[in-house]
């Protein structure tokens, strides 16, 4: 990894990859770029594990025998938890955020380098505890950890909850770090409205990370205590709606609205590859701010069809429908940016369009779920969980891949094969929709949420869906492999292949340890 091409400039200023690279040097590192790469490795690992776990329900769905109910519940529980807690939330801030935030605002590092390292370490501790409970006494009460079912769970529930506590802590610290960095580390002369949209998205999302991380961490501990004593806030005598409300208040904003930094990334990528500044920059920022507010205000829509009162259903449905306005603005702004631009067609484009497709579907599905009669019927069905799938596997993943393909030359100083990336992208997009549309249909037929493929009557649909997943897995393997091989290759990337104008493109690829200077 250290034999980076020895251009004259780099002999003077060593790239961040070029320093000592023993395991302990990496793990001790305070450099935001190294932390980002470590987040990439850990979150990708968690994602991979969740993918492997997701195979089990698929096998069951197409008629696999010999899988006990308990085993199935356990895999479903961990698969979703890993996806949401260890990937969906931390991936964008961890990978794109830690790498780019300082570079985009002209800073040498995060405001609190030690907190960056803490974020990573707490993430690792959380992940290890979660996996520890999986490896010893797995919990099988579903990823939303419903009170009464969880209290009855014979697994290592307490360990899992302490793991989730550390995850929450990691989100919280990341959020604090990003907010302070944006406030105090911007380069002289760069105002808030001069920041690239990725930085804006990360900044706004940080508020959600702080809020959710804190609440989620605390209720996870309370839940652990209730599991041990069967008493307390979430104990046996508690109202089951108490846990559900706290849980969704903490989780809904950071999960469904992980789309906010994703929107930031896609805006920058679109503007970069089309060589045109984002149309309506301030409108875009406004739309993102509105989404952040709606994220918190509309949390209760996740409870529709799951015990929310009729009045609550109407109020939260209406609140969540407000999101239609910022989403429409974002779509119009992107299309205006693309119009009469000069696009160097690349895989990054394909991923941006994939984001428009998947993010669009996820948002439009929100209309169904916020239409009271429809939401009340489908709110607890696989239709609703397929919406979350569209966010996890679709929206956020597409944005992340768009970002990675756009910034990879900067991050690693290496060129990847654009053609191979496109093949992977097509497999991924086609596969994902083949996988998820049948799940939407199964939801309307009454297959309950998260219980993938348990109903015989939908066997045909389950088969189509499983075939789709196969394509997704294959596509993702192609995409990841294509990027990974460049680490050992030696085709150096240009410093600014897209001719982009944001600050991160002014430093060498890969950036030196102290970024600017």
């Amino acid at each position: 990894m250290h034999n980076v091409s020895q251009s004259a400039a780099e002999q003077v200023r060593r790239s961040f990859l070029g320093g000592p690279d023993g395991v302990s040097e990496w793990f001790q590192s305070l450099d935001h770029k190294r932390i980002s790469l470590m987040f990439l490795a850990w979150t990708a690992g968690a994602f991979l594990l969740a993918m492997i776990l997701a195979i089990m329900p698929l096998v069951k769905a197409v008629g696999g025998r010999g899988l006990s109910a308990q085993l199935l519940f356990e895999t479903l529980t961990y698969q979703r938890l890993l996806h949401v807690v260890a990937w969906l939330v931390p991936a964008i801030p961890g990978i794109i955020g830690f790498f780019l935030l300082p570079l985009q605002i002209g800073a040498s590092n995060m405001a609190f380098p030690t907190l960056s390292r803490c974020s990573l370490r707490f993430y690792v501790v959380g992940l290890v505890l979660m996996l520890g409970s999986l490896a010893t006494y797995p919990v099988g009460s579903g990823w939303t950890l419903d009170t009464h079912l969880s209290l009855l769970d014979p697994g290592a529930f307490g360990v899992l909850m302490v793991g989730l506590f550390f995850m929450g802590l990691s989100w919280f610290l990341t959020g604090v770090n990003f907010i302070v960095t944006v406030h105090h580390k911007r380069r002289e002369g760069m105002g808030f409205f001069d920041m690239p949209l990725t930085a804006w998205g990360l900044y706004l999302y940080s508020y959600l990370l702080v809020l959710s991380g804190l609440i989620f961490g605390i209720i996870a501990l309370y839940m652990a205590a209730s599991w041990v004593t069967t008493e307390g806030l979430f104990g046996w005598k508690s109202d089951p709606m108490a846990w559900r409300s706290y849980f969704w208040f903490a989780i809904r904003p950071v999960t469904y609205f992980a789309m906010i930094p994703a929107v930031g990334i896609v805006s920058d990528v679109i503007s970069g590859v089309s060589r045109k500044a984002s149309t309506g920059y301030r409108t875009m920022v406004g739309a993102m701010i509105a989404l952040t507010g709606i994220a918190v205000a509309s949390y209760g829509v996740s409870l529709v069809g799951q015990g929310l009162s009729p009045a609550g259903t109407l109020i939260f449905s209406a609140l969540s429908l407000l999101a239609a306005v910022p989403v429409a603005i974002i779509a119009i702004t992107w299309l205006s940016t693309l119009y009469r631009s000069s696009i160097s067609c690349s895989s990054a484009n394909v991923f941006c369009n994939a984001f428009i497709l998947h993010g669009g579907i996820a948002s439009l599905l929100g209309l169904f779920l916020a239409s009271p009669a429809v939401g009340a019927f489908l709110g607890a069905s696989m239709f609703a969980s397929a919406q979350l799938d569209y966010i996890i596997w679709g929206g956020v993943s597409s944005a992340l891949m768009a970002g990675l393909h756009y910034w990879w030359p900067k991050m690693m100083g290496r060129k990847y094969s654009d053609d191979v990336a496109r093949i992977g992208a097509v497999l991924y997009v086609v596969g994902l929709n083949l996988a998820l549309v049948p799940r939407l249909i199964m939801g309307t037929k009454g297959v309950p949420q998260d219980l993938a493929g348990l109903v015989d009557s939908s066997l045909r649909l389950a088969e189509v869906s499983s075939f789709g997943w196969l394509c997704v897995y294959f596509g993702l393997a192609v995409i990841a492999g294509n990027l990974l091989v460049t680490i050992w290759g030696d085709e150096a990337a240009e410093e600014n292949p897209w001719g982009a104008t944001t600050l991160e493109w002014t430093v060498p690829s890969p950036p030196p340890e102290d970024n600017f200077s």
């Binding site: 603005i329 037929k445 949420q449």
Partner: protein, 326 residues
């Protein structure tokens, strides 16, 4: 419209009057959203193909502001869309919450994987039988975990939770057997289907009701008594094995003598047992509180006779004591 040919792929066949309340708004929104999606993604793809970088393009294209009119249209469109989605599902939602007056009342008690449906006549069953065309009102609670009572064919979905009483109602429009799913991660509900709603034509339902309504049909008096002991809540306060709960055990009651709170001694014969059930506080057994529910107006003579017969079978003096004294 794309996909409209396949609309029937969505949702199960209509089974209740609620079905249009859910399906019609769903398809309204479906048509609109599919159009929007095709338009947006289509434009994005067309633009990326059309405006590719050409020889002679400047390093950076000139930035332009947003078209205010377009933006305005977008905002108005979005508000209209949101309002439309809300409104189209509103009346159905409200209608589903308000059961018609005079609906057939069934109370539902759920445990993990077990359903108790209690009919107006006190009959308890683990499947829900209803008549086509008759509104049914469910009052539901759970004794342990939270789960859903989801009947996809009838478009019913309501949560059942400990400590909460929730309601739902429906009116079936065709005979059939409709699965009830719970969605709980519980091995007891593994196939996520624990019970069914059986919708019967009105005459068949009436016949069935008459058969179960007549608890004496095909049972001996003692068997009916045992059934009543289980159904009428006696078992909450009285054991059959000699252990005393809130009330004395009913084992060895018939034909035995008891001391009352006023110091009298009473013999538990037919007349006394009848009195104990109908007006329990008339004479209260010593060391017990006068808390027993009076069953006057609930249990008739024949039922009490049945209970008495049942008590005889679990008493050592069932065939000697009492009878002779009469």
């Amino acid at each position: 419209m794309i996909g409209s040919a396949n609309l029937s792929a969505w949702f199960p066949e209509w089974g209740s009057t609620h079905a249009p309340d859910v399906d019609v708004p769903f398809f309204d929104i479906y048509v609109v959203t599919v159009t929007i999606l095709i338009l947006t993604v289509g434009l994005a793809v067309v633009f990326t193909r059309t405006f590719t970088r050409k020889e002679g393009d400047p390093e950076q294209m000139p930035a332009v502001g947003t078209n205010k009119i377009l933006l305005g249209l977008g905002v108005v469109g979005a508000i209209a869309l949101a309002g439309f989605a809300f409104q189209t599902g509103l009346s159905g939602f409200v209608g589903q919450r308000v059961a018609p007056y005079g609906a057939f009342e069934v109370s539902v008690t759920a445990r993990e994987g077990v359903w108790d449906f209690t009919y107006p006549d006190g009959h308890v069953a683990d499947t829900l039988r209803v008549a086509v065309g008759q509104p049914v009102h469910l009052t539901m609670t759970s004794q342990d975990i939270s789960q859903n009572m989801s009947i996809p064919d009838l478009r019913v979905n309501q949560t059942i939770m400990p400590g909460h009483t929730t309601e739902a109602w429906f009116e079936t429009i065709r005979p059939g057997t409709f699965p009830i799913r719970t969605g709980a991660f519980s091995a007891a509900t593994y196939d996520s289907m624990t019970s069914v709603v059986v919708s019967l034509p009105a005459e068949e339902f009436a016949a069935w009701q008459a058969a179960v309504g007549d608890i004496f049909a095909g049972r001996t008096m003692a068997e009916v008594g045992e059934l009543l002991y289980n159904q009428q809540g006696c078992k909450a306060c009285h054991s059959l094995d000699g252990s005393n709960l809130v009330g004395p055990s009913l084992k060895n009651v018939y034909g035995f003598e008891f001391l009352t709170t006023t110091g009298e001694t009473v013999l538990a014969d037919d007349a006394y047992i009848k009195e104990s059930i109908l007006t329990p506080n008339a004479s209260v057994i010593a060391e017990y509180q006068p808390v027993m529910t009076p069953y006057a107006g609930i249990l008739g003579d024949q039922e009490i006779q049945a209970i008495t017969e049942f008590l005889k079978t679990i008493s050592d003096r069932g065939h000697t004591g009492g009878q002779e004294d009469k």
